[in-house]
């Protein structure tokens, strides 16, 4: 099934949220509007001589629960972490690990070979490689996680 692609959203609210945390105790802060309840995994994006590399930290994920699409220069990764801590009586001191649906939108700063996109899930890291090329496609490409 082809996942529905949303229009590119170039201003990730998560980033504003980070700012939010930094000024958590400040007297003033703006409130942030967010439509989805998805969390954003920690992500690295870098480029080598011949490709762009996107790495997401996604522990305890079933690769089948992840959908990766590339459309119009925007790499969209969505999925869900179904694993939950075991139901036992507990008392939280810190709660930072996100569960449930996540989403990451990454604009790729350059042309990529849409025929040659690959994704690998290994030891909790999802690595997506996009080869630099002249080829240009406006079609939405689904990348399968290997």
């Amino acid at each position: 099934m082809k996942p529905k692609i949303h229009k590119a959203h170039f201003r990730p609210l998560e980033e504003e949220m980070d700012f939010f945390f930094s000024s958590f105790f400040g007297a003033s802060y703006p409130s942030i509007y967010r439509k989805e309840l998805a969390w954003r995994p920690a992500t690295d994006v870098y480029e080598t001589e011949d490709c762009f590399v996107v790495i997401l930290e996604l522990a305890q994920i079933d690769p089948r629960d992840v959908a990766i699409t590339f459309h119009d220069g925007l790499l969209l990764i969505r999925g869900i972490r179904k694993t939950m801590p075991p139901p036992e009586p507990r008392r939280y001191h810190k709660m930072e690990i996100n569960y449930g649906p996540f989403e990451q939108k990454i604009p790729i700063p350059g042309d990529v070979d849409t025929d040659n996109l690959s994704a690998q899930y290994n030891n909790g890291f999802l690595e997506i490689r996009l080869d630099k090329t002249r080829t240009f496609s406006v079609n939405t490409i689904n990348i399968k996680v290997e």
């Binding site: 529905k4 703006p30 967010r34 989805e36 969390w39 969505r78 810190k94």
Partner: protein, 803 residues
């Protein structure tokens, strides 16, 4: 726990998985008092209450959702009754962490408005049953218009508000749902909690938009006012900074152009003037130190003027500027003679000084003290000394001065302090060697402000005054080049140490002949000039002047004489101005037309020989005077009455005279009972004038002998002298003044103590030749000379043979 769930608008479709976010009907509840988390808004919450922390813990273990409701009652945290508004928000806990103070921080996202149906549990934390409030949407034209208006207003608020980031304006544009728009805006406005709640509780979107519009308008007004106040305050602060900045820039520009700013120029100018002032080392150091201080002072400082004035004083003093002395003794004599008639003693002293100066340039300036009655020309003599020497002339009257600071200045700590009169005078002279005349030194007072006479000691001591220290200057100034001249009417009131420092030159009164000459040479030409008359227009004969001198004035000096001559001049001037053309001349005959009836009469001319009335001679600060001693006798018993404001010494000399007579009755040929049953009264007329001194002894004795013997006293004989109980006559002072007074009064015979014979030399020859002097040693001689038709026995007085 109920499994019924509330559907939300949050849907996730990641890959092949779809999750709808649903809210359980049974939720842990968080009562809040200070904030509201609106749906679709991510916001922080801080939890300090133990119960609520337990509640969060429970929520985190389950669906991570809680219901946030505002408590209607705010205030006291401890015993706050629970009364929640029924519209709240279900939130999802995104993150939780502990804060350093042990409280709990939550990052939550609002999900949906919910309605509290009932509180199902209160311990260990609140739990309640809730129902969903579906989100209202609407796209009516009115709503769209309101949305646009609100967006517009909010953009303005964001642009003015110092708190809200500009990105918020963009975020608003991305919100397409009117309901969510109101929630986002409301959550970003600083509002009172109940106002926030009213936004939350207003479920109808249109109504909520209207409410928000009102709030936004109010907020905008507040912000505008706030920013206006702020900018006003800031502009006031910036005004000062601006001025400073501009000044600094001006300095920089001037420096670039090679110009100097006003202040640097001022400092440089002062520096140059210090260089040129030729100060001694000590003064120069003080000046440079002060200049350094001044250069580091802002011109607005109160201290600046003080410092500047001080520097100006230091710079403008003639430290080594002096006028060249004209040391030509012959020419100096000519000048002195031009200005003053007679006064040979004084002129000689000046010329001697000049002569010494010529031989030895560094000789110390003498300090002369002219003593004499008013109007004899002491001050003008000082002026002509300055003229003769080619020096500047400064005059300052010390009369009535009581403040030491007048001499030495005030210390600079006092506001408006200035140097003393000495330094001021030197500055005025512009040279450090002026002739400095200190008038009326005998009239210096003293009170709680100090004793100016003592301060003068330093000024007038040639040994000390080269380091005269003014309180204001604080550095010594050399006064040794100054020629100080003081004047006084009497010497008695000048403190001893001060008198000791000065060379006293007596200027006695003038005789008629002198006055005539002075009038002819100086007074008449001067008055003529002052009244605008030509030489031909005003003539006055010598005899007329003499008449004025003897009948219209009675003084040692010539001040009144000048005044009377002035009166004549004015009357002539008036006649000329009225058109009279005839020659005006003042003759002896028409003097009364000018000056009115005769004012003074020669006492002697009115008198005849009388019993008990003797003529004495007295000395006063304003010249000599004749005085009469009258005595009379009446029934009584050995009493003696002395009247006429007599001083102690004078009373005693009257007693001595009486004792002498009583002890020598036989020899004097007086009958035995002349005194036993009688009272004697001695009176010295002009009873209002205080009199004192021993010199009237002979006069009193003569008066008494005349009284007791019945022989009248010759009225044209005047006398002076102190007596002893042996009848010896002691010398007295002021012979010249007394003799002149006798002459003025028309008395040609004067009896003087033998020991005063030497003083006759002081009296000008032309006076001496008109008069007859009798020098006596014993009282008996006096009686012989004064009493008529009777020669007293003189046997039995052993000393007689010595004559």
């Amino acid at each position: 726990m109920s499994e019924t769930k509330i559907k939300t608008n949050f849907i996730h479709q990641p890959g092949n998985y779809k999750e709808e976010v649903e809210i359980p009907q049974d939720l842990p509840l968080l009562p809040v008092t200070n904030t509201i988390v609106f749906p679709y808004v991510v916001a922080p919450l801080v939890i300090t209450d133990e119960r609520n922390m337990a509640m969060v813990n429970e929520a985190l273990s389950q669906r991570k959702m809680i219901g946030v409701f505002v408590n209607k009652v705010t205030g006291d945290e401890e015993n706050r009754p629970l009364d929640l508004y029924d519209v709240g928000v279900a939130v999802f806990i995104l993150k939780m962490f502990r804060l350093p103070d042990g409280s709990m921080g939550l990052m939550v996202q609002g999900l949906s408005r919910i309605r509290l149906q009932e509180i199902t549990q209160k311990e260990p934390f609140l739990r309640g049953r809730i129902s969903a409030i579906p989100e209202e949407t609407g796209k009516s034209v009115r709503i769209q218009a309101l949305v646009r208006e609100i967006e517009e207003l909010f953009q303005q608020v964001v642009s003015i508000s110092p708190i809200l980031p500009d990105e918020l304006g963009q975020a608003i544009a991305n919100v397409d749902n009117p309901s969510r728009l109101t929630d986002l805006i409301a959550s970003n406005l600083k509002m009172e909690i109940h106002e926030l709640q009213s936004v939350l509780s207003t479920l109808n979107v249109e109504k909520r938009l209207v409410k928000l519009l009102t709030i936004l308008n109010k907020e905008l007004e507040l912000l505008k006012l706030g920013s206006k106040i702020q900018s006003e305050v800031r502009s006031r602060i910036e005004e000062g900074q601006r001025e400073y900045l501009l000044r600094e820039q001006m300095k920089a520009i001037q420096k670039e152009l090679g110009e100097k700013d006003e202040r640097t120029a001022e400092i440089d100018e002062l520096k140059g003037r210090i260089e040129e002032a030729g100060m001694p080392v000590e003064a120069r150091e003080a000046a440079e130190k002060e200049l350094d201080r001044l250069s580091r002072m802002p011109p607005q400082a109160a201290e600046y003027t003080v410092s500047r004035t001080y520097l100006d004083w230091l710079i403008s003093l003639p430290w080594n500027r002096k006028t060249d002395d004209r040391i030509d003794v012959v020419q100096a004599k000519t000048i002195l003679d031009e200005d003053h008639y007679d006064l040979d003693d004084v002129k000689d002293r000046i010329l001697e000084f000049l002569a010494v100066r010529k031989l030895r340039e560094t000789s110390k300036g003498p300090i002369l003290c002219f003593v004499g009655p008013p109007g004899v020309g002491k001050t003008s003599l000082g002026k002509s000394i300055a003229r003769a020497m080619g020096r500047k002339f400064i005059r300052y009257s010390l009369g009535g001065m009581r403040d030491e600071a007048e001499i030495r200045g005030h210390r600079r700590t006092y506001i408006g302090s200035l140097p003393g009169r000495i330094v001021q005078g030197i500055k005025k002279a512009g040279a450090n060697n002026p002739v400095f005349m200190l008038d009326e030194i005998d009239k210096v007072g003293a009170d709680f402000r100090g004793d100016p006479a003592s301060a003068l000691l330093e000024v007038l001591d040639p040994e000390q005054n080269n380091t005269f220290s003014d309180h204001y200057l604080e550095v010594p100034f050399d006064l040794s080049n100054v020629m100080f001249i003081t004047t006084a009417n009497v010497l008695d009131t000048i403190p001893g140490p001060l008198l000791d420092r000065m060379e006293v030159i007596r200027i006695p009164g003038y005789i008629e002949e002198d006055k005539l000459q002075i009038a002819k040479k100086y007074l008449i030409p001067r008055q003529r000039e002052e009244n605008g008359l030509k030489t031909a227009q005003f003539r006055i004969s010598d005899r007329a002047v003499r008449r004025i001198i003897s009948e219209y004035t009675r003084e040692a000096g010539v001040r009144n004489l000048e005044r009377e001559i002035g009166t004549c001049c004015r009357k002539v001037a008036r006649q000329i101005a009225e058109g009279e053309t005839g020659r005006m001349a003042v003759t002896p005959d028409n003097v009364p037309q000018f000056l009115g009836p005769r004012r003074f009469f020669s006492e002697v001319a009115q008198r005849r020989d009388e019993v008990g009335v003797a003529t004495g001679l007295a000395w006063t600060p304003v010249g000599g005077q004749i005085l009469f001693v009258e005595s009379t006798v009446m029934s009584g018993g050995k009493g003696m009455l002395l009247t006429g404001q007599l001083g102690d010494v004078m009373k005693e000399s009257a007693q001595a005279a009486l004792s002498y007579i009583r002890s020598n009755t036989g020899r004097l040929g007086l009958t035995g009972d002349f005194y036993d049953k009688k009272d004697v009264h001695v009176h010295v007329p002009e009873g209002a004038t205080p009199k004192d001194g021993p010199s009237a002894g002979v006069t009193m004795a003569t008066s008494l002998v005349s009284l007791f013997s019945g022989y009248p006293v010759k009225h044209d004989v005047a006398m002076t002298g102190e007596i002893t109980l042996q009848g010896r006559i002691l010398p007295v002072g002021g012979i010249k003044e007394k003799v002149l007074a006798a002459l003025r009064s028309g008395i040609r015979n004067v009896i003087l103590p033998k020991l005063n014979e030497k003083d006759l030399a002081e009296i000008p020859e032309n006076v001496r030749s008109k008069m007859t002097f009798y020098f006596v040693e014993w009282l008996d001689e006096v009686f012989d000379l004064t009493l008529k038709k009777r020669k007293l026995k003189t046997q039995g007085i052993p000393q007689k043979g010595n004559e």
